[in-house]
């Protein structure tokens, strides 16, 4: 066939609207994307959410400040510890509560273990979305389970920890916990190496992720993207460094940055962050003070009698670097035991803003991968 003459019949095409979700395993929950397709190319994509909406913010207006903690566990159920921590930070800012030294270290240890849990799991899920069904996910879950056992030993629950309290943590670590944590911290790099052998240079993964779902730096900043997604686009902004809350200024760690801002960069940033988390964990476990109590007296009294805790009138915004990005709590107090306004700034929700921008012009199969790389949990998106 000569290349000059196109003998194919002229085909009339039309766009096709496809609902991805809400009941679809790749959407990580009940999340729906209304995609308009031209052939296989996405030309429009509207996220639809709210299927899991339970108005946590309204519920919290009828609870005491302590009573809000178990609900925060259920926001991003992978990262209960950091959710607790963010609320505790906000309450401490609101009421000016000092945190005990040991409490600070335990919090940092828990937060970094949570980061390991989250990044391991999300990498597994990302691979699941790419079609590597099961294997990487189960490897990730195998390791995650070991950390969840640690959480259970300390807090009594694997996922719904409800452990961090204003002023420190609810109860001290049980005997032998630190040794178990050391075991995991020592063994984890081996798992990461193995995981990277399996994934990092795999040709199929390179094909599926490189140059897919690129997020340019200016858009990432303007859209308020935070966490690994922002750093994959090359913006050096880590709240652990910027705000220097808790004992993070006392530990040495680096902030990995990406250059391209595609799905592959986000994957690599998460792996590198896990390695940095391990460094933080080593230093924090080393420096964990044994003399100071795990919770300051004011925090302990507050846990015993939540209704007597009445923060002064005013408002406070407390934020931390949660594994998914900036998790903030905005509290308004009217001097009563219940928050007058309780607002969560969920990273998953705001990171979804750019989903359409990243998906335009990509193939429909890439949408799933891009969504997986954002790392959302629908309970946090919908609240």
């Amino acid at each position: 066939m000569s290349p000059e003459i196109d003998t194919r019949p002229q085909v009339e095409t039309q766009t096709l609207e496809v609902n991805l979700g809400p009941q679809h395993p790749s959407t990580h929950g009940v999340f729906r994307m209304v995609a308009t397709l031209d052939g296989e190319t996405v030309i429009r994509l509207k996220p639809v959410m709210g299927y899991m909406h339970r108005n946590h913010e309204k519920i919290a207006e009828g609870l005491t400040y302590i009573g809000c903690f178990p609900y925060t566990d259920r926001l991003d159920y992978f990262c209960a510890m950091t959710n607790n921590l963010a609320l505790a930070v906000a309450i401490e800012r609101l009421a000016g509560i000092q945190v005990s030294e040991r409490g600070e270290y335990i919090r940092v240890i828990m937060a970094e273990l949570t980061r390991l849990v989250n990044h391991t799991a999300v990498t597994g899920f990302l691979l699941n979305d790419m079609g590597a069904f099961g294997t990487p996910l189960l490897y990730a879950f195998r390791e995650r389970e070991k950390i969840l056992d640690l959480f259970e030993a300390a807090s009594g629950s694997r996922m719904m920890c409800n452990y961090v309290r204003p002023g420190g943590v609810r109860e001290d670590l049980p005997a032998g916990w630190v040794e178990r944590a050391w075991e995991i911290v020592r063994a984890y790099p081996k798992f990461l190496d193995e995981f990277e052998t399996l994934l990092t240079k795999n040709d199929i993964i390179l094909q599926r992720t490189q140059q897919v779902g690129k997020l340019p730096q200016p858009l990432a900043v303007s859209a308020g993207i935070t966490g690994p997604m922002l750093r994959a686009s090359g913006v050096n902004y880590d709240i652990r460094k910027v705000d220097g809350y808790s004992v993070y200024p006392r530990v040495q760690f680096k902030v990995p940055l990406g250059t391209v801002g595609d799905v592959y960069d986000r994957y690599l940033i998460r792996i590198l962050e896990m390695r940095e988390s391990l460094k933080i964990l080593e230093q924090a476990l080393q420096a964990l003070p044994t003399t100071s109590p795990s919770i300051s007296p004011k925090g302990a009294a507050m846990g015993k009698a939540p209704r007597t805790f009445r923060p002064p009138k005013g408002h406070a915004y407390g934020r931390i670097e949660a594994p998914k990005g900036e998790l903030g709590f905005f509290l308004v107090s009217d001097g009563s035991p219940q928050p007058y306004r309780y607002r969560i700034r969920p990273p998953s929700f705001i990171n979804l803003t750019v989903l359409e921008d990243m998906c335009l012009g990509q193939k429909v199969a890439d949408v799933i991968v891009i969504l997986g790389s954002i790392d959302i949990v629908l309970c946090e998106v919908d609240r």
Binding site: P70, Y71, S157, N162, K201, K304
Partner: protein, 242 residues
């Protein structure tokens, strides 16, 4: 060189899965030993109904009520603090009252006539345990509670909730012994002022209202505002041993 070879890293990855596969079988582990490849026991799952997971001591599921000795001698005094603090509001308590509407006292303590927890609502947060000044409610670790009726079977009444202190000792030895020590110290404190003027300064935590006294007035239903969770401030003035 290897980078250009398409599929080289796929094969390396398959090596990892092959090794993990071998680790899950005794023969596989033997092969790995012969090949001098460091390996671990790859069996990480358990066959659940036959084999049960070993939970850590602090593992918590649903709350239960502790009694010392006989089930009539329960620690709960129906002060309703847990009912008020429970975030999902799954506890319902009615105090035992006589015909005149006065609270019945046994051994100087008020009693709950009714103590229900709706386990289909309970979210195992442990706040009731934290706020209880009498250490009367604790977290159980029994988790196989499935039932065919969500409303009838998951509404635990007082009889179902009552468990002995020995059971508590058995499931959570560390915590139970701490609680016992605390209660013994409290008992001593209440016994001592019987002879002398109450001299000891009130401890800041736990709020040690003497178990004999109970709340002075029966708390009225769902009045908002603080409940008297701490002891009265009166016996603060004379320092101990003065």
């Amino acid at each position: 060189m290897a980078r250009r070879l398409v599929g080289f890293h796929v094969l390396r990855g398959m090596g990892v899965t092959l090794k993990t596969f071998c680790e899950t079988y005794p023969w596989g582990r033997a092969v790995l030993r012969v090949l001098r490849i460091p390996s671990t026991n790859g069996l990480v799952t358990i066959e659940y109904p036959e084999v049960k997971q070993q939970h850590s001591e602090r593992f918590r599921y649903f709350p239960f009520l502790v009694y010392d000795g006989t089930p009539d001698d329960l620690r709960c005094v129906a002060c309703k603090i847990c009912e008020q603090e429970c975030p999902p509001q799954c506890i319902h308590i009615v105090m035992e009252k006589d015909a005149q509407g006065r609270p019945v006292k046994v051994h100087g303590r008020t009693l709950p006539a009714q103590f229900d927890i709706d386990m289909s609502i309970c979210m195992s947060c442990r706040i009731c345990v934290d706020v209880c000044p009498f250490d009367a409610i604790e977290m159980d670790n029994a988790y196989e509670l499935s039932a065919s009726d969500r409303f009838e079977h998951m509404l635990f009444d007082k009889q179902r909730l009552l468990k002995s202190n020995e059971y508590f000792q058995q499931i959570k030895p560390t915590e139970a012994s701490e609680v016992d020590q605390r209660l013994a110290a409290k008992q001593k404190k209440t016994a001592a002022p019987a002879q002398a003027q109450p001299a000891s300064a009130a401890p800041s935590s736990p709020p040690a209202a003497p178990p004999g006294a109970g709340p002075a007035a029966p708390p009225t239903g769902r009045t908002p505002g603080p409940q008297p969770t701490g002891p009265p401030r009166a016996p603060q003035s004379p320092p101990p041993g003065a």
